[in-house]
């Protein structure tokens, strides 16, 4: 059975600024043991998507579509079912572990807490499990008695992962879980997550703005822009050979060392990600797009397969088989 199946998910915020469509029709699937990366910039809807998967959005958000976890629709289930899902079905690791840990409790106690709440075990057993989990995330047993402030950023993030694993979820959602960490610590944590995915056969949805990290650690990647998936495909292919001008720009923000084409030739897009409350008509990327044609201003492209490859792209230019990178690169005037 498909572990996670999201169908036509829409999330709309109603705020004083008006109606803000944050997610506009997203379809994704994750099988057990699979890793899916979701890439995009601030405001593209990727974090809203993460929260919607576990129904963690505020009441002001209107959610339509389907989010099926092991076949059950998360959006329509009762509170009791939802609680069960949140502990045992799927767990989420956020960015910034310093704020998510209680500063006055030892880390082992914080990890043991959900186990005690949801499983019929003794305190000693739960503590034992917590220490075991800390071992799995690469922290020595004596760290169980530490308080959060005694740990480094990387160690705290590992504690967060241990907490997410405490109830043995089928799906882990990592929302910028390693962004604040140093390259080396990030590599450590990502390795750890990859091991867990491989050993336990859990599914992983990894959300990040860093397409290069996603390409290295995920099997597939979905690139989001203005609340929609604009490109979906094998992670490394999307990074190395994008079929949407936005993915291409995102990829070139993280140059590969040794790539002579990137040397002394940084590339980027003008402007900022669009305001979700005021999206441009047609393809929402067209005002920043280096290869936009008249068609792009008129109609919104659908996410369609490109050629024979298992790649989907929502770009008219790519769908016509043309390159998405302009021939000459020159710095546009802002």
């Amino acid at each position: 059975m498909t572990l996670l199946e999201v169908r036509d998910l829409h999330v709309t915020y109603h705020s004083s600024r008006g109606v803000i469509p944050a997610v506009r029709g997203v379809d994704i699937t994750v099988e057990p043991g699979q890793t899916l990366g979701v890439a995009g910039e601030s405001g593209c809807g990727k974090s809203t998507l993460a929260l919607a998967l576990l129904r963690l959005l505020p009441k002001s958000a209107e959610v339509t579509g389907q989010v099926r976890l092991n076949g059950d629709d998360v959006l329509t289930m009762t509170w009791g079912q939802l609680r069960a899902v949140r502990w045992a079905g799927a767990s989420i690791v956020f960015q910034g572990a310093m704020h998510s840990l209680n500063p006055v409790h030892r880390v082992a106690r914080q990890i043991a807490e959900p186990i005690l709440l949801h499983e019929n075990v003794s305190e000693a057993e739960a503590h034992g499990r917590a220490v075991e989990l800390l071992g799995q995330v690469g922290l020595p047993a004596w760290r169980a008695r530490s308080y959060p402030h005694e740990l480094s950023g990387g160690q705290r993030q590992r504690v967060m992962i241990a907490m997410a694993l405490a109830c043995e979820p089928d799906l882990i959602i990592a929302d910028e879980a390693t962004t604040a960490l140093d390259v080396m610590v990030q590599a450590q944590v990502l390795d750890l997550i990859a091991d867990l995915v491989a050993q336990r056969g859990v599914g992983l949805v990894m959300i990040s703005h860093d397409l290069s990290v996603l390409s290295a650690h995920c099997q597939r990647v979905a690139v989001m822009y203005a609340g929609k998936v604009v490109e979906l495909g094998a992670a490394h292919d999307v990074f190395a050979d994008a079929r949407h001008p936005y993915s291409d720009a995102l990829a070139s923000a993280f140059p590969v060392i040794g790539d002579v084409a990137a040397r002394h030739r940084p590339r980027g897009l003008g402007g900022d990600p669009p305001d979700p409350a005021d999206l441009p008509g047609g393809c929402s990327f067209h005002p920043r797009c280096p290869v936009a044609v008249a068609e792009c201003r008129a109609a919104e492209p659908q996410l369609l397969p490109i050629g024979a490859s298992p790649r989907l792209s929502a770009c008219f230019v790519a769908q016509q088989g043309k390159p998405v990178r302009p021939g000459t690169v020159k710095e546009p005037v802002t």
């Binding site: 790539d259 940084p266 590339r267 990600p273 802002t334």
Partner: protein
Amino acid sequence: MSEPGLSARGLRVEFGLPGGRTARAVDSVNIRVAPGEVVALAGESGCGKTTLARALLGLERPTAGAISYDGTPLRYSTRALKAYRRSVQLVLQDPTGALNPRHTVYDAVAEGLRIHRIADNESDRVATALSHAGLRPAEKFFLAYPHELSGGQRQRVVIAGALVLDPKIIIADEPVASLDASVRGEILALLLRLRDEFGLGALVVTHDLGLAWSIADRIAVMYLGRIVEQGPAEQVLTDPQHPYTRALVSVLPDSPVPGPIVLSGEPPDATSIPAGCRFHPRCQVLASGAAEAAGVADQCRATPLPVLADDVGAGVSGDDPTRQVACHYAAAATRSEA
């Protein structure tokens, strides 16, 4: 002989901590930034790179060592510092925080002129700086407030604020880290354009080696307060010699260094710097026994390494004299090749 640009010799910055301990954030560093070159200063957080940048700007008083600009040593009198700041300018990481929310773009850019009492053609100078920073037409932005601009535009305003004093060197601390990924390239392209058009030198402090690859001419890799490897960016990044640099490069996607080499542990703290090579407790070469086989393991643990000179002196890897590595193992490998 006076050498053009900014250079630091034997720079050391120490902080007193509660409990009487001393953190040696920067521990004997020689570095040089010439006009017209982009130098990347890379390293993990806590390695002292930001402290070094602040010291180079005269914002932090070094415990020992000297900074000189165009061969003239920097003095810390108010007047000398003020004069120095017309030559060496700062670009901060977070443009949103670096601009006073109550000042317009014009005020923010003109601030430097007002501080230095440059009253003639103020608006022309501001307009020129803004258009050099890629905000055109400049007049359109004069009266905008920071919150009305996008992140990329804000960083351009910060850069314009530095450019208005016609500096020769810019020190940029993680200039794109807080910008959206798709906007980063634009700001980096701007730094390169300033280098090409105005001969501006830049020290770019970054944790991102990919960024160093895309803009730096030279790179210096810092570990625990000291530069452990430096040289032309192309050579250092495609063929790193120091085990630490190798590890940093190896964890990147499609890396030229086979790997990934994931170092265990966190960087040790600057209050207790290990004896011998400061990297030895985490060194994968030492741990794998390769250093033992080369007969340098004892040196790694006990013999301190010499401080790398800025760009003179004998290189360890024969191909380029400016290429330098502070590593017993790499030195032994070069000796055996010779």
